[in-house]
Subunit: 332 residues, 2 copies
DNA sequence: GCACGGATTTACATCGGTGTACTACATCGG
DNA sequence: CCGATGTAGTACACCGATGTAAATCCGTGC
């Protein structure tokens, strides 16, 4: 910057002012400075600016893994939303590992990020105190608990109810669930499973025994494994509600391999509406939590916090939409 | 850090030395310092360190978009590989847009990254000079050209030939291609299409007319559209080679919707071996370019360059593997 | 011709670490 | 007992930008 200043015949501070859009600069000066910047190919050193200003222009996004299309699509949306505010996103993958989630939380990249979009899977109410970080943060995903922190939530309960009602309305009564986490009382799995049982109750349908299967890491493979396991038990069922789309797609695979017809014998529904759900065979009925909206809202909240907003913490529930497709409706 | 130093009764530089693992430190001193760090909850300010040292410990990864599972899985692999070297990855999405690819290249985040893993789609030989950046860089993907830069390449030619040979060996002769970019002489599409025609020639098969369809952004939707278009022409074909997996999956969808049986009537093959290819119906025959290996190799090259290695530029071709599945083989 | 207020520009200290150079003490071989 | 060598720790300048406050311009009004 010194060099640019010399080249333009002004002080370094003036160069700084030009770069930051400070208003009181004579047009002639601005042009001189810009010319010098161009001539020397000067690029500002962000580390130096950050050191002085305390801001980096980078926000973190902590998600389990990008291999999961839901998070990949969410990341794309977050990057776009952040870009609208001139922010860059630094993605941190936690592998859904509790340790690494805590690390991401307590050591936010050594002041390298101004704020954090945080999508934890393994945290529970016992960790609520850890969320009182000094770096602004917005939680994405489920309502784990009422914390001292902003929260943009998927409407898990309403979304789940909508999809389960849809299955019931199709006449299905023995609806299997895959992807539960038996020993967890909080988290996505527990919330969606809870909403499922509630919906059955609304319809006066008993929760069928032996039709809830756990599903590991919510990958396609765990969905296929869970379904194979369920088929092996010999239990009857006429529908499957998979707690997310990748599980559902794995389950569809296993059902097809077993000669089960979808939806004639068994209807399948998922949750997330990943792009793939519109192109699988059969296409997948699922709940769309509107990633774009979630990302945009979350970034806006975060920007406010980073600007020093100190108001009461928000809990925003994003809208959802049920997409009914072949896997529950039959071919066209 | 000053505070920590005071708390521990040592100089700031000693604290710095402890944090950086400088060897000549008495155990007692180290313990004192660590205790002080812990007591004060001190976190180092990376910006300050970076300013002085010129290194950030962050490498950039520029890819078109994470919604494309290939790049999402590549990003996961890159993050893991970088982690092994104590590096963090900052992902930049370019949307396969030439302008944004150039921006990512010429303004590498204002010194915020020490190096760049760069996976361009829209660049050609005319841009070769731009690759002479001062920040170390490793190119991922195709051999666009012999540039002044390290390069980890997918073995597009051999991979394509393997999959096309496989189709030919199954007795297919009228093999359609979707995803070409008619006016591009370089880039993935051109390379794979070229290898396709070469393979046909090897088998003495003429390149069929009217069976090569362009495919927009290589999304599922463009694959479905391209296939619908092809079906509408009424041309006969007994196989489809999609230039990547998402195109193939979209095409499968369109074929199924049209009542075409796979692979009985038409065999389908793709390229990338995304996770989804093992779980689609039917499962998809495809070429696996081994993302993990590519990411690991690329990061290692980059680390060497960042360490100041000045040797001749490497061009490494990653191994590939053909996975034959139901879409070309028939149900088990 | 001069005081005055807004427009422009600048000097200087400072953000928080680290490289360099230097001091101090202990150990060791001759 | 001395200089050489190795281990521990420190002082200080400096990386490159920006906040602050002060200086310099310049057109007005009287």
């Amino acid at each position: 910057m010194r060099d640019v200043a010399r080249e333009a015949g002004v002080s370094p501070k003036t160069v700084s002012n030009v770069m930051n859009g400070y208003p009181y600069i004579r047009e002639a000066t601005r042009v001189k400075v810009l010319a010098a910047i161009d001539a020397l190919g000067y690029r500002m050193n962000f580390s130096a600016r950050n050191l002085k200003s305390g801001r980096t222009g980078v926000i973190g996004l902590a998600v389990p893994e990008l291999s999961n299309p839901y998070f990949a699509e969410l990341a794309d949306a977050a990057i776009a939303a952040a870009g609208e505010h001139g922010l860059t996103v630094m993605i941190e993958t936690t592998g859904a590992d509790r340790e690494r989630e805590l690390t991401a939380l307590t050591r936010p990249r050594g002041h390298l990020v101004d704020g954090l979009l945080y999508s934890p899977l393994g945290l529970g109410p016992e960790d609520v105190d850890l969320l009182r970080t000094e770096t602004p943060m917005v939680l994405l995903g489920e309502r784990i608990f009422h914390g001292p922190v902003d929260h943009v939530m998927i409407d898990n309960v309403a979304g789940t109810k909508a999809v389960v009602r849809h299955l019931l309305d199709q006449g299905r009564r023995r609806i299997a669930v895959i992807g539960i986490r038996p020993r967890e009382g909080v988290g996505t799995a527990a919330i969606r499973y809870g909403a499922y049982t509630e919906t059955l109750a609304e319809y006066g349908v008993e929760v069928p025994e032996g039709l809830a299967v756990s599903g590991g890491k919510w990958h396609r493979s765990s969905g296929a494994d869970a379904m194979a396991e369920l088929l092996a038990t010999g239990e009857r069922f006429d529908a499957v509600f998979a707690l997310n789309d990748t599980l559902a797609l794995g389950a569809i695979r296993a059902l097809a391999a077993h000669g089960v017809r979808i939806p004639d014998d068994v209807a399948v529904a998922g949750f997330d509406n990943i792009d793939e759900a519109s192109y699988s065979s059969p296409t997948l009925t699922t709940v769309d939590p509107d990633r774009v909206q979630i990302a945009r809202t979350a970034v806006e909240l975060l920007v406010q916090r980073m600007a020093g907003d100190d108001s009461e913490h928000h809990e925003i529930v994003a809208p959802y939409e049920l997409h009914t497709r072949e896997s529950t409706l039959g071919a066209n």
